[in-house]
């Protein structure tokens, strides 16, 4: 090398590109104000859903609508809370409990039931028993996989995604094999279960679900002061005095129950949690669970109940809301992958 210092070519001297998040955050409103606005919108959606175009037979229509609204609120709550907490303990913004092969497992359980005991057998089983079986299997599966994956100290996100894909593919493979062996008439019965449906939910199941979700919420309430610290990552959380293994285990149990209840109640909803959680992060300038959690839940209620109103009243559609949500959620997932939000 010569002794003189030659100026570097401009391409080298330009400052390294700062990794800036595109400013999604509408900085105008404080998180508390957002909660207020969203609560009003959510309440308006619910009121609209219950009252618009009621028709003559109140005694018949209204209880059915109340049932549906309660189902949607419960699902919005469970999905919002479980997704945000799951992302907090895993330290990522792209994995959700349901992306981990959950919907595929649900499909497999449905297919397995129809295959082994027949559609008449499924009907004979009764909705409560079926719900119990589905819930038990899904909680057991998620508990096992989350525990195995997330209690070690250095699990990579890529491994987790890969495991989710492998499980999902396996479940789907087994399902499609069983479906091929089904009678066409049995298959038609099964097809109904493949998309989430908020319309035909049994009142008894709804009551059981509310109790289960309520119990899970008590756990959440007890741990609420530790969530923000947990989001700093395992090592920092431990250094700040969090009993990490205990809290993470508790949160995983809560997530398993919430996701299990939702899926058993209405069917697979893969990307819904991803949308509401990430919108909630964007609306909160600073990350605080006491803001993010309610915002995610309220956004969920608005999307489900408000979406249902729009679909039913404006487009005269019925029950296709989950498909629209999955489409939008899938797009968001792709955008996030491409933008490199995954670390």
């Amino acid at each position: 090398m010569s002794a003189g210092t030659s100026p570097l070519p401009p391409s080298v001297t330009t400052a390294p590109r700062l990794r800036r998040r595109p400013s999604l955050s509408p900085a105008a409103l404080s998180p508390a104000a957002w909660i207020g606005v969203l609560a009003v919108l959510a309440a308006a959606s619910v009121a609209l859903y219950l009252t618009v175009d009621l028709g003559g037979n109140l005694g018949y229509v209204l209880p059915r609508r109340v049932n549906r609204v309660l189902t949607m609120v419960l699902v919005a709550y469970s999905v919002g809370v479980s997704t945000v907490l799951f992302q907090t303990i895993t330290g990522n913004r792209i994995l959700t409990p349901s992306i981990m092969g959950f919907d595929a497992l649900y499909l497999l359980i449905q297919t397995g039931l129809v295959f082994f005991i027949g559609s008449s057998g499924v009907v004979a089983l009764g909705s409560t028993t079926k719900f119990g079986v589905e819930l038990a299997l899904m909680v057991a599966f998620s508990w096992a996989i989350y525990r195995w994956l997330f209690t070690g100290s250095g699990t990579s996100l890529h491994l987790v995604l890969l495991v989710g894909i492998v499980f999902g593919t396996m479940f789907r493979g087994v399902s499609s094999l069983l479906q091929r062996l089904l009678e066409p008439s049995e298959f038609v019965v099964l097809q109904d279960a493949m998309f989430a449906s908020f319309t035909n939910v049994d009142t008894g199941l709804l009551r059981v679900s509310f109790v289960l979700v309520g119990l899970a919420s008590l756990v959440v309430l007890g741990l609420r002061r530790q969530f923000d610290v947990l989001a700093l990552g395992r090592d920092t959380a431990i250094s700040l005095g969090i009993d990490h293994a205990r809290v993470v285990t508790a949160v995983l149990v809560v997530c398993s129950v919430l996701v299990g209840v939702c899926t058993a109640l209405v069917g697979p909803i893969t990307f819904f949690g991803l949308i509401v959680a990430n919108l909630a992060y964007a609306l909160c300038r600073r990350f605080r669970h006491r803001h993010v959690l309610p915002i995610a839940v309220l956004l969920g209620i608005i999307a489900l109940v408000g979406g249902q109103v729009v679909l039913e009243q404006v487009f005269a559609f019925d029950t296709a809301l989950s498909i629209v949500i999955e489409f939008a959620g899938g797009l968001l997932f792709l955008v996030m992958l491409l933008r490199g939000s995954i670390k």
């Binding site: 610290v229 090592d235 600073r286």
Partner: protein
């Protein structure tokens, strides 16, 4: 006083920390030096309950780190690892305020705010206090995390390569700050450090590790000798006395 007894960590058949025993007296700066892979960070992680040990015990002022409730230990001992990334969006002040969590469980008092302000001032982060952590440079982020540890205000502070990412000015300021913490406020600062000359100039004691074992433990005068450094690093390092400090010369 931190007491290590027979501390051992194995990954499969590989032993990364091998029956390390020793006592770290309270007060002062203690540097842990050694080549890459000597087990320094692993030792520090085990001492701070971030990593379970395969054998041995660690006691911090008579408290067993494995059985003492985590929040009680967090008021006595803090640790900062090398890589600190956040998956959530926080301002510098928010991050530093988390250092008070072991004391206030999320309910901030006026005293907590004072601690936070002081920590920000110590690390000259006043002007960056309202910036987001993910928008800072590596060195600024490193200082923000160290401010959090300082706000935690524990008797024992364990730092894994605190000079990472810092330029010369900030590195020197960091070491001066740590010395002030140790000597003026009676803290015990244990750090893993690669620059033996910083270790020599600022440490009260130096622990040298090699292949998972603690091979030397003494004052900078005892450790900063060519024969000792040769044993630790396997290279010849000339040691000169400059302004009362022993400086190792290893660049050529």
């Amino acid at each position: 006083m931190i007491e290590l007894t027979g501390l051992t960590k194995r990954y499969g058949s590989r032993t990364v920390v091998d029956r390390v025993s020793g006592t770290i007296e309270a007060g002062g700066i203690i540097s842990i030096i050694g080549a890459n892979g000597a087990g320094k960070s692993t030792l520090l992680s085990m001492a701070a309950r971030l990593l379970p040990m395969d054998e041995g015990t660690v006691f911090v002022d008579e408290l067993d780190v494995l059985s003492t409730p985590s929040d009680q230990l967090a008021r006595k001992l803090s640790i900062l690892r090398q890589e600190n990334t956040l998956s959530v969006r926080l301002s510098v002040r928010d991050l530093v305020a988390f250092g008070r969590h072991p004391h206030n469980r999320g309910r901030h008092t006026a005293e907590d705010r004072e601690h936070v302000d002081r920590a920000l001032r110590y690390l000259q982060l006043d002007e960056l206090a309202d910036r987001y952590v993910d928008e800072l440079s590596g060195g600024q982020r490193q200082r923000a995390f160290i401010a959090m540890v300082i706000a935690q205000d524990t008797d024992y502070v364990l730092l894994d390569e605190p000079l990472n990412n810092l330029d010369m000015k900030h590195a020197v300021e960091m070491m001066q700050l740590l010395r002030r913490m140790a000597h003026d406020f009676g803290k015990t600062v244990v750090l893993v450090i690669h620059d033996i000359n910083f270790a020599s100039c600022y440490s009260d004691r130096i622990m040298a590790m090699k292949d998972g074992a603690l091979v030397h433990h003494g004052t900078p005068e005892q450790i900063m000798r060519p024969e000792v450094l040769r044993d630790v690093y396997g290279i010849d390092i000339r040691v000169e006395q400059i302004d009362g400090h022993r400086i190792g010369i290893y660049f050529a």
